[in-house]
């Protein structure tokens, strides 16, 4: 059982804030919540909405069909009371009397009303407001609005008794027994993972949907002693990051596809200079400026391949918040240990959705992998080691040269054929070493019925909808987490399945192309979505069912 509540209004009316409050209240009450956020690229007006899905089952997605529409404006009804939601009951702000003084906090007023409706105690909301807005000037008004909404005259709402009964969460969902649940967005998780991994510097230029991480880390500067700097453009960001990392600062940059394109020259430079770098690439639909505030998985190829020359890199794609923390941690681990380029491939659907967060995943302690021994003369920054991984030192300890040109062991430019090949081979050896080390990590997961012969294949943010869609089906789900180095052993799952279905949020099935390249296996059945919207559980279930017949 899953109940989906859509809350919508004009940008600026606080639909998202109301959804977050509701989500947090329900999560702390013990339910599993998934909060999907949908907003166009504008600052005031338009139609913003969230779908708060709540269940006593571990859900990570929302449905297309919602059980209630909460409307802060009339447009929300017009936009959403159609199609599968034609008969969905509506709580509209215009159907209740609200004092004019609550106009600016109508979202809190309606939340109070909603709580009454869901038969949940008002106290939950009051406590939440006190916790979040402690000491704020508007707190008393917020509390008053919540109370007033809770006690509003419900009779004016055009709802039937049976409609109301259908929404009684407490009656429908078994009383929850879970403890210590929290609500976390993918961006929260990336920022958390970075801090837990000992980030020193985050550099960025704003671009949706990577911006929340910039904001979150900027807000943590004092508490966690880090520097966040917004530079003049992504080219500056990525090249400055290499400078910063050269000095030993643990450095991460964040952007979306367009900004990543600008950064690619620096990724290539990372390849030859072997300066550690963590890149957070949060996808949105392209090409070009695309559909900025929506989601997609169209940037897999640039994460895997963009930048000239051949060099090792790690591409990791988390599918929820626990994985976002863990993958960020592993990205730092590889960058630091192998002086590697680690790309964290996320998207809007993970970064801006909120998930129920149960417990912190086990993390690795990321050690500063820096040689502090002073040497005479130039440090051998590119020592020809057997495993291809050279130790590094930093300025103020040694004289260290990092370079974008092909070089000798000390970082001096060379053009000699022998040395050029030798240095290339060193980096290739490092790639082999990294491939071995990656095996220690969970590079893929199998979800669902392990014995099933029906295999769904996907990566990243489709995880939630896929797991939810097949939860009562005869199917299992192969989720790829490391796309590079690619875990070739997944071939056996593909070959042993009777039916293999690819689910991707792009138009051409980019993952299936990569799978074909890496394993030779061709996936014929594909469910692709590329309208900027994520898969919903109910719609995806129907699509998978159709393919399984």
């Amino acid at each position: 059982m899953k109940i989906n509540i859509l809350i919508g209004g004009k940008a600026g009316q606080g639909a998202n804030a109301a959804a977050i409050l509701l989500g947090e209240i329900l999560t702390e009450y013990g339910y599993y919540v998934f909060n999907y956020r949908d907003y166009p690229s504008l600052i005031r007006g338009g139609n913003n909405f969230n779908i708060v899905a709540v269940s006593n089952r571990k859900i990570k997605s929302h449905d297309k069909k919602v059980q209630l529409i909460v409307a802060l404006d009339e447009n929300t009804i017009k936009e959403h009371k159609t199609g599968v939601n034609k008969n969905t009951p509506v709580i509209s702000i215009k159907d209740v009397y609200m004092d004019d003084k609550f106009k600016k906090v109508s979202n809190v007023f309606i939340l109070g009303l909603l709580l009454k409706f869901l038969d949940l105690p008002l106290d939950l909301l009051i406590k939440k407001l006190e916790e979040i807005f402690k000491g704020k000037k508007f707190l008393p008004l917020d509390k008053e609005a919540a109370e007033s909404g809770y006690n509003a005259d419900m009779k004016k709402l055009k709802l039937t008794k049976s409609e109301i009964n259908r929404l009684d969460i407490r009656a429908k969902l078994r009383k929850p027994a879970h403890k210590n649940l929290r609500l976390l967005s993918g961006s929260d998780a990336i920022a958390k993972g970075a801090i837990k991994s000992g980030i020193d510097i985050y550099l960025a230029y704003p671009m949706t949907p990577a911006t929340p991480v910039l904001h979150l880390l900027a807000g943590r500067q004092e508490k966690d002693n880090i520097t966040v700097f917004l530079a003049e453009n992504e080219i500056a960001v990525a090249n400055a990051a290499l400078g910063s990392s050269h000095t030993g600062a643990r450095t991460m940059v964040g952007t979306s596809g367009g900004g990543y394109d600008l950064m690619t020259e620096a990724m290539s430079m990372q390849g030859i200079s072997e300066i550690p770098l963590v890149v957070y690439l949060a996808q949105r639909p392209g090409p070009g400026s695309g559909v900025p505030t929506y989601t997609g998985q169209g940037d897999l190829n640039i994460a895997l391949n963009a930048s000239h020359g051949e060099f090792p890199r790690v591409v990791i794609a988390p599918g929820d918040v626990e994985e976002s923390i863990k993958c960020t941690n592993e990205a730092f681990y590889f960058a630091e240990k192998y002086r590697a380029l680690s790309i964290l491939l996320g998207d809007k659907h993970v970064s801006e959705s909120q998930f129920t967060y149960e417990k912190e995943p086990k993390l690795i302690k990321v050690k500063r992998n820096i040689d502090l021994k002073k040497v005479n003369g130039l440090y051998k920054n590119y020592d020809f080691t057997k495993n291809g991984n050279s130790k590094r030192s930093v300025p103020s300890v040694n004289i260290v040269k990092s370079t974008s040109y092909e070089h000798d062991e000390k970082g001096i430019t060379i053009e000699d054929a022998n040395m050029a090949k030798k240095m290339y081979d060193k980096r290739l050896r490092k790639e082999e070493t990294m491939k071995k080390e990656v095996k220690k990590f969970q590079t893929y997961k199998i979800h669902g019925r392990k014995t099933s012969k029906n295999l769904i294949v996907g990566w990243g943010s489709t995880k939630g909808a896929i797991i939810d869609a097949i939860h009562d089906m005869d199917a299992k789900f192969l989720q790829l987490i490391y796309i590079k180095p690619f875990p070739k052993e997944v071939r056996k799952y593909l070959e042993n399945a009777k039916k293999v279905i690819l689910v991707e949020n792009n138009a051409t099935g980019l993952l299936s192309q990569e799978i074909r390249k890496e394993t030779g296996f061709e996936i014929k059945d594909k469910i692709l979505r590329y309208d900027g919207r994520p898969f919903e559980e109910d719609i995806l279930r129907e699509e998978i069912k159709k393919k399984l017949i």
Partner: protein, 284 residues
């Protein structure tokens, strides 16, 4: 006094014989040697960022660490190093193509940021390593293989631009005047904040106006120029437009003012400076 530092690597220079880049390298080495001997600098605490071009080969020859960055990214890499460890002495060596064409956004914004970076532009008014095309500081009438009818575009005046953007140390030197150039570099290193030294550097192969320029040069200090006065600095900056062969070409420090640096203004950076630490020394 510290012992004489070794400021040359073993790399064999590939600059053209007699190239003025040798003079710039020597001037930098002179300044570093003097300041290291005086105990004002430590060799391992000095870093440089370079771009790509003839100028950038200095990376292989100067025995200090740093990042041989991509074309145009000199200042971005330098800024990164300064944020990564605010206690380093940071140099940038760029070409005119590097700094005023490919990397102009970094030049513009770093004049505003005022991080303590010594930015030295080897301004030969040409893309030299790519065999002689016109740059942002080439003359409107200059004819090149890529611009056979002449550039048809007026040069940019980086001194005036830097002043307008708030750079706190703005100077011009001539690569052929070792003593004067050395002195200006030393002043820039001592200055806290973003320093631009635009060094006019004849390119013996592709852009050599030594003869006319020699007649045009004069020193600002000889004219008792007040480098604390921004309006006067701008007036002096406008005296030469980077193409006139008749007007005077002022050399020396146009402007110098002490203002808080970027690192001093960012609280966590300031803490690192107070502790004399880089991020790599912070326990996590």
């Amino acid at each position: 006094m510290a012992k004489k530092p070794e400021l040359s690597t073993n790399a064999a220079p590939t600059w053209c014989p007699g190239c003025y880049n040798f003079f710039i390298l020597k001037a930098v080495q002179n300044v570093l040697e003097k300041m290291i001997k005086q105990g004002k600098l430590k060799q391992e605490n000095i870093v440089m960022a370079t771009g790509i071009g003839c100028h950038a080969k200095i990376f292989d020859y100067l025995n200090v660490g740093g990042v041989y960055s991509l074309h145009g990214r000199t200042i971005a890499a330098a800024l990164g190093m300064k944020l990564g460890n605010p206690n380093l002495t940071v140099f940038g060596f760029g070409g005119d193509g590097d700094t005023y064409d490919e990397g102009v956004s970094h030049f513009v914004h770093n004049c505003r940021y005022n991080a303590d970076i010594n930015m030295i532009v080897h301004n030969n008014q040409i893309f030299a390593l790519t065999t002689g095309q016109g740059t942002a500081t080439s003359e409107e009438y200059a004819v090149t293989k890529a611009q056979p009818e002449g550039l048809k575009i007026k040069p940019m005046n980086p001194i005036a631009v830097a002043l307008e953007l708030g750079a706190t140390f703005v100077a011009r030197a001539f690569a052929g005047d070792m003593e004067h150039m050395t002195k200006i570099i030393e002043e820039a290193v001592k200055h806290k904040g973003f320093s631009l030294i635009d060094i006019l550097q004849p390119c013996l192969i592709f852009h050599n106006k030594l003869e006319s320029m020699n007649k045009q040069f004069y020193k600002l200090e000889d004219k008792k120029h007040d480098f604390k006065n921004l309006d006067l600095a701008l007036k002096k900056a406008r005296e030469w437009d980077y193409e006139d062969e008749k007007s005077g070409i002022p050399l020396g420090i146009f402007y110098k003012v002490r203002e808080p640096t970027l690192n001093e203004k960012l609280s966590n950076q300031k803490k690192l400076m107070e502790k004399g630490k880089g991020w790599f020394q912070v326990k996590r």
